[in-house]
Symmetry: C2
């Protein structure tokens, strides 16, 4: 199986970047939990100050585009893909080769969309069982359902984020949605426990042949 974790960084110049708030803790915990459960695990991660879980193969990337390439190069034959990384949706349309000097007035930055990794993995045939994450500040279930349907995912794990919630914290809760049936609530708990609960839930679906 393949898990993505952490945040990507999209450079504006050699020192500045567009980032996302994600410690990588949830993705690393999922890799550890899946390995504990006996899976062969490849963890593709953005910059994260976290130790590699024992027995897990770690692949380090920085940008969304590098994460996309690293995933696509290793997805063949995987039966499960979990996209837990906070991948940048946008990157600067131009990357300055030298540090941009400060001017006196405002500056305009043009951003362009990055490759959509979840959608690309879900579009493969044959394809693995695909689990996405939806970190939302409002209308959690609605946005999560739209993501599931729109990208063709098998499951989506939704969590509310905001100051002190979901990102850069030790604990979290999840609402897990499939195309059919009621959402399953995994209550607030340490991310390690939450990861085990989510892996158990995914394993159930995989054994039941719940692939699209």
């Amino acid at each position: 199986m393949l898990v993505t974790a952490g945040a990507t960084r999209e450079p504006l110049d050699p020192v500045r970047y567009l980032g996302n708030r994600s410690s990588g803790r949830m993705g690393f915990a999922l890799a550890a939990a899946a390995r504990e459960a006996g899976a062969e695990v490849v963890l593709v991660t953005g910059p994260a100050a976290l130790a590699t879980p024992r027995g897990v193969e770690r692949v380090e990337v920085e940008r969304a585009e590098q994460m996309h390439e690293a995933v696509m190069a290793r997805i063949e034959g995987a039966d499960l893909f979990i996209g837990a990384a906070a991948v940048a949706d946008y990157r600067p349309a131009q990357e300055a080769p030298e540090k941009i000097k400060k001017g006196s007035g405002p500056l305009t930055l043009t951003l362009e969309p990055t490759p959509d990794i979840l959608r690309a993995v879900a579009a493969r045939r044959p394809r693995p069982f695909v689990v996405g994450f939806a970190a939302e500040t409002t209308d959690l279930l609605e946005h999560a359902r739209a993501k599931l349907r729109d990208k063709g995912l098998d499951l989506v794990a939704a969590n509310r984020v905001g100051p002190g919630r979901g990102l850069e914290v030790e604990r979290n809760s999840l609402e897990v949605l499939a195309a059919e049936g009621e959402p399953v609530s995994l209550p607030e708990q340490p991310k390690e426990d939450l990861a085990r609960a989510l892996i158990a839930l995914v394993a159930e679906r995989l054994e039941a042949g719940g692939r699209a």
Copy 2:
């Protein structure tokens, strides 16, 4: 004395931000070296996964504006200010209260300048001895001299940055410039040693009454 360290983060929305590549290591090492040398040290830092040096008062901030406020609130009576933080020069002109949803096309972001902390500290009367850092990808001494003069600093410590150089690494070298005299070269060495050398150099100037 007062030291700033780390990078600031300028939010676009609750999950995305503009960041700078800085681990905070140099600023933390300077705080530790100054404390070792007997100074009372306040360390104002952006998010950094580093332990607070023993005997140092740590103040945590996130944005350039918060760093500016934290410094201004504590600068009264300080005899030395070292600005080692990688402070964002620009912030998004608007911060979205909810997560921006991905659209299909390009996105334009308007950035505005942030408060200039070094300039503000150097403009105070009476003022502390002010040491700035210049991280440059090209024309190192030229840019550093311009910064010294333009902001009215007493010393500027210049280092070349780029992939694998200066930022997010364990070792560094510095060229230290004053308004008069030749630059002093501190050769490549671990940041802890470099910090001690820079603090010794600053102490010499302070004792010699080198204030502007």
